[in-house]
């Protein structure tokens, strides 16, 4: 006796979440009118996202501190809970109980609004992320455009935060952040264009489906333009969520803490949460676009998706453990003079990729890439380290 709702869905691990939701809906169907059922399914996926976001953020902070510890030959938090597993909860409680200081001459309303407004886009982006087969919260056919539009809103709350706290450091930090995010948004958007061109659609689900291949995986990263697009997208993603080596705004050594200097307690926790959720969603979109989202031979689809995103987040943490910070003008120069021309060229490569045959396309793309990279490096002399000679006096 399978309840009517479940009849069409097969019972394998892959579909476990989809069947779970269908089963709950079938339970609710007994005593809810039809139109409330539609509302109920929306509420269920909404609640799942609202819990998923913060939980991911909590355990991302722990993962980051553990990995960084291991890079630096130390353990990372291991006092609270077995391997420090309860550490995020301890941080959460600390954030709740910490006093929430509002500077005297701050603009109260805007100071309060900034953390709230920064979390909204961070959560909204979860809607279009395809967690698994048929597990996208809202299957928008303009998924990617929605993602880019919403992530462009995050500049506003950062301005609000930095301006409202009326403090020199946060003003400087706010200006820098806005400049950085605007200049890295454009290469990121252009880096997405090749994937859209190849999959003929903006919806994230069709992009993932267009990368399917029985055993020879057709992931976009295995094409010349895919590699370039992935690297540029990933760099812009790290810049977009202010993570090292692009973490200029919270440059501890210069501006104390950038735009959230004057925040403490729960408000600071919201800024912190927005940053980590942005990091997760950007990695998820990078995985969807170039690494074939939830495509993968044997394991269930959502496991593939979380594996790939987890891998990309580890690379972001690896960046944090290795690189010093960019300076403001290098940051801007890198985006405008290096990444932007590269993405425009990348779009040319994808167009080329469609018309010529496979092998010739590879040859031509590598040739063009080589020449253009060489010229770009020649043009940006400042980025190339000078050779230094050290005479030995006695």
């Amino acid at each position: 006796m399978i309840p009517p709702m479940l009849r069409g869905i097969e019972f394998n691990v892959d579909m476990i979440f989809v069947t779970a939701k269908a089963w709950i809906l079938s339970l609710l169907a007994q005593f809810l009118p039809a139109w409330l059922l539609v509302l109920a399914s929306i509420v269920i996926s909404g609640v799942v996202i609202l819990c998923l976001g913060p939980v991911i953020m909590m355990y991302l902070t722990l993962l980051e501190r553990k990995l960084l510890g291991r890079i630096q030959n130390r353990y990372g938090p291991n006092r609270v809970g077995k391997w420090g597993l309860l550490q995020p909860i301890a941080d959460g409680i600390k954030m709740f109980t910490k006093e929430d200081i509002v500077p005297a001459n701050a603009d109260k309303i805007v100071h309060l609004l900034a953390p709230i407004v920064i979390v909204v886009p961070a959560l909204m982006v979860f809607l279009v992320v395809p967690f698994g087969e048929r597990m996208t919260a809202v299957n928008l056919n303009i998924g990617l455009l929605f993602f880019i539009a919403v992530s462009s809103i995050t500049i506003l709350p950062i301005f609000m935060g930095s301006w409202a706290s009326r403090n020199k450091y946060s003003l400087l930090g706010g200006m820098r952040t806005a400049a950085q995010m605007i200049s890295y948004e454009i290469p990121m958007t252009l880096a997405v264009v090749p994937a859209i061109m190849m999959s003929q659609s903006l919806s994230t689900n069709t992009i993932v489906l267009s990368q399917v291949g029985d055993y020879d995986l057709h992931w976009y990263i295995f094409t010349p333009w895919g590699i370039v697009g992935f690297i540029v997208f990933f760099l812009c993603a790290t810049a977009e969520c202010n993570r090292p080596p692009f973490d200029l705004p919270e440059a501890e050594s210069e501006l104390v803490a950038g735009f959230h200097t004057e925040y403490s307690g729960m408000k600071f926790a919201l800024f912190y949460m927005a940053e980590y959720m942005n990091a997760f969603t950007l990695c998820a979109i990078a995985a969807t676009l170039f690494l074939g989202g939830w495509q993968g031979p044997f394991l269930p689809s959502w496991l593939w998706f979380f594996g790939k995103t987890f891998l990309l987040i580890c690379v972001m943490i690896w960046f944090r453990g290795t690189f010093p910070r960019f300076r403001v003008d290098h940051l801007m120069g890198f985006a405008w003079k290096f990444l932007l021309p590269l993405t425009l060229l990348n779009i040319l490569l994808t167009a080329l990729w469609q018309f010529t045959s496979n092998l010739a396309a590879w040859f031509w793309s590598i040739l063009i890439l080589g020449i253009s990279l060489w010229t770009l490096v020649k043009l940006n002399r400042t980025f190339v380290p000078e050779k230094r000679h050290y005479p030995m006096g006695n």
Binding site: V38, I142, L145, A149, V150, S152, I153, F159, I182
Partner: protein, 173 residues
């Protein structure tokens, strides 16, 4: 699901009310920075109306262009001009009677236009959802010439602003 339609209708009216409030805020608030934020909120409101009318593409573009770019530039302008953000702007001046007269005239004009035009909601219009693909083809197909002219115009504007901004910095330093 009649109740859902009715709820959606009320939802739209509520959002329109919120947009009106924010629009009023843009005009009446004393602190310039608050006005810019209310402008952003109003624009997001309009985008949510597009979503309710199932024009997601337009909503996405609205948020991306207006809120992401235009309001940010407005705030940049406020921030970069010295001491503008902090100062409160003086609101009322002595020309209020003249303003009310102009307002009434304008209301009359708009009223007649709304009443006169027929708002046919033919089922064909409802069904023909213009897909994003269609838009792209039209831009590249029939309307490619205006598309290129506009881009040239934008470049000219960009170069112009750089020259204007550049000119006054040498004197100051």
């Amino acid at each position: 699901m009649p109740i859902l339609e009715m709820a959606a209708k009320f939802g739209v009216y509520a959002v329109m009310g919120v947009i009106l409030i924010f629009a009023l805020g843009v005009v009446t608030l004393r602190n310039l920075f608050h006005c810019a934020l209310c402008l952003a909120a109003a624009l997001i409101g309009i985008a949510s109306i597009y979503v309710v009318l199932q024009a997601e593409y337009l909503a996405g573009v609205q948020i991306l262009l207006y809120v992401g770019a235009v309001v940010t530039l407005v705030i940049f302008a406020i921030m970069l001009t010295e001491h503008l953000a902090g100062k409160t702007v003086r609101q009322n001046n002595s020309q209020s009677p003249l303003a009310i007269m102009a307002l009434l005239g304008f209301m009359a004009l708009i009223g007649t236009v709304i009443v006169k035009t027929p708002w046919p909601v033919t089922p064909a219009a409802l069904a023909s959802k213009v897909s994003v693909m269609g838009l792209g083809k039209a831009l590249m197909g029939a309307y490619v010439f205006p598309f290129e002219v506009i881009s040239i115009l934008l470049i000219a504007v960009l170069v112009g602003t750089v020259i204007i901004a550049k000119k006054d910095t040498p004197e100051r330093s």
